[in-house]
């Protein structure tokens, strides 16, 4: 089992060879000779296999060739993303294949690095890897990819898979001391949660230099002799950064909706005639809309409008956006103000929105666990009460009078 896993992890890295290759030398990718047009049945066959492929291994699409080092060939990676990279990123953002989106750990080359080139260390989450190589167009450097189990830098550092031990292990396994003549590694600043510079120095002999937080700042950082400006060291959470996180939030909820929505429809059918199919449909539609609006306000509106929604506690922010969308729903469904059903839906929307907004704390780079726990202890009882009261009022309102 262990062996199979090992093979799987290394599927994209070239086989290690032990001979000394001498000075650096670039090995071009194999280009097959041009075939003459042939008339043949069926579609054209696929191009011949690359000479770098080995049984059980496959050359990844982001590899453009190999560079020979003192420790064998190292894959040279492209700095431009192709269609499959973009498609992969899109899927991951939508929550598809998100927990298995990784590249093989090990040493990679960017451009034409030599023994004096910088070594940048990163996680093996392919989204992180792609961002890094794209930002480094035109730079000659080594990229040391750690085995963070396909998790991004910060989360991996928090989980301690991006750790001092893993940095030391990869430095040794890839014989970095023989590939480069210097003894420094550039680590992303956000990995400092899991990596102690002192331990890395003791364990590998390499000194850690903390690089900037954003991959986009690496070029200016390298140009400034490995000095990061203050703003490069401070984490941001801008509109775009928040926006890209929202689709995953919603797709993760789909599995709950599969039973919540039918349940709401059934609940809405209960009334003075015991059970009414007309009510099931009409009232069910209103109740389902309430839950969907709760999701919209808690998982999309709150994250996107985060700095503009009042209050600091996320649960309170969610309640505010829930109140806003709730008012819209009520004005849509109720031609005259009917207190009880309107209140019921409002309570439901606010509970759902507040809870989901609170869960968004995990995606932000500025909420402290002590703070989150503090707000949760207050918010969870309120959210539960609000949801239960909402459901009770909703059922009761069916007995009191018609919706309109």
């Amino acid at each position: 089992m262990l062996e199979t896993l090992e093979n799987k992890n290394n599927c994209c890295s070239p086989p290690k060879q032990q001979e000394d290759f001498g000075p650096l030398q670039i090995l071009p990718m194999y280009t097959p000779p041009k075939e003459e047009d042939e008339v043949c049945c069926g579609p054209k066959p696929a191009p011949p296999s690359s000479p770098y492929e080995r049984p059980g291994y496959e050359v990844c699409s982001f590899v453009e060739g190999f560079i020979n080092t003192a420790r064998g060939p190292v894959p040279r990676i492209k700095t431009n993303l192709d269609g499959s990279d973009h498609l992969g990123s899109l899927m991951v953002r939508l929550g598809i294949n998100r927990n298995n989106y990784k590249v093989a750990p090990g040493l990679y080359a960017l451009g034409t690095p030599n023994a004096g080139s910088n070594v940048l260390v990163t996680a093996n989450y392919k989204l992180s890897f792609d961002t890094l190589r794209q930002e480094l167009t035109g730079i000659d450097a080594w990229i040391l990819v750690l085995d963070t189990r396909g998790v991004n830098v910060w989360c991996a550092a928090g989980k301690k898979t991006f750790s001092s031990g893993e940095v030391i292990r990869q430095v040794k396994q890839n014989h970095l001391d023989q590939v480069v003549s210097h003894r420094t590694l550039i680590l992303p600043q956000l990995s400092a949660t899991g990596v102690s510079a002192l331990e890395v120095k003791r364990g590998s002999g390499f000194e850690v230099i903390w690089g900037p937080i954003q991959a986009g700042d690496i070029k200016p950082f390298l140009e400034a002799d490995l000095k990061a400006e203050k703003k490069m060291r401070q984490v941001t959470f801008g509109f775009r950064e928040r926006l890209v996180l929202t689709p995953v939030e919603v797709t993760l909820l789909l599995k709950y909706l599969l039973w919540v929505i039918p349940l709401l429809f059934i609940l809405s059918g209960i009334g003075p005639q015991l059970f009414s199919l007309t009510d099931l449909w009409h009232r069910g539609l209103a109740a389902a809309s309430a839950v969907l609006l709760g999701i919209l306000s808690g998982s999309i509106l709150t994250p996107v409008l985060l700095p503009w929604v009042p209050f600091r506690a996320f649960s309170a922010k969610g309640a505010v956006t829930g109140l806003m969308t709730g008012l819209c729903l009520i004005s849509l469904f109720f031609r005259t103000v009917v207190l009880l059903p309107a209140l019921a839906l409002m309570l439901l929307i606010m509970a759902v929105s507040s809870y989901l907004a609170m869960n968004f704390t995990g995606c932000t780079p500025y909420t402290s666990p002590s703070g989150v726990e503090k707000e949760m202890r207050k918010a969870i009882p309120l959210q539960t009460a609000s949801a239960l009261l909402g459901l009770i009022f909703w059922v009761v309102s069916a007995f009191i009078g018609p919706m309109n």
Binding site: N99, V195, G362
Partner: protein, 93 residues
């Protein structure tokens, strides 16, 4: 963007600080600044308890309870116990 005030477990023991500046480099929220040969907490409420400063302080002058500020993780640690809780695969990490 600011989160709740007066919640962090962060403490700095000035007598053990050697002023190496590691904490000022690794903190993603500018909580520290070097003041002569000692570090100083300049923005305590900016702290998100990630623990990078503690991990990289050579003299153990910084102490805090590090963790992830993630509600879904905290719920799991309440229901399943600290060791079994993980914030993935649901939510961000």
């Amino acid at each position: 963007m600011r989160y709740l005030s007066n919640v962090t477990t962060l403490t700095l023991d000035g007598s053990r600080c050697v002023g190496c500046g590691s904490c000022t480099l690794v903190c993603p929220h500018g909580v520290y600044a070097l003041n002569g040969k000692k570090t100083q907490i300049v923005d305590r409420d900016g702290c998100m308890e990630c623990g990078a400063c503690q991990t990289n302080c050579p003299t153990g002058a910084i102490s805090l309870t590090p963790g992830v500020g993630c509600a879904s993780y905290i719920i799991k640690s309440w229901t399943k116990g600290k060791n079994k809780a993980s914030c993935g695969p649901s939510l961000c990490c």
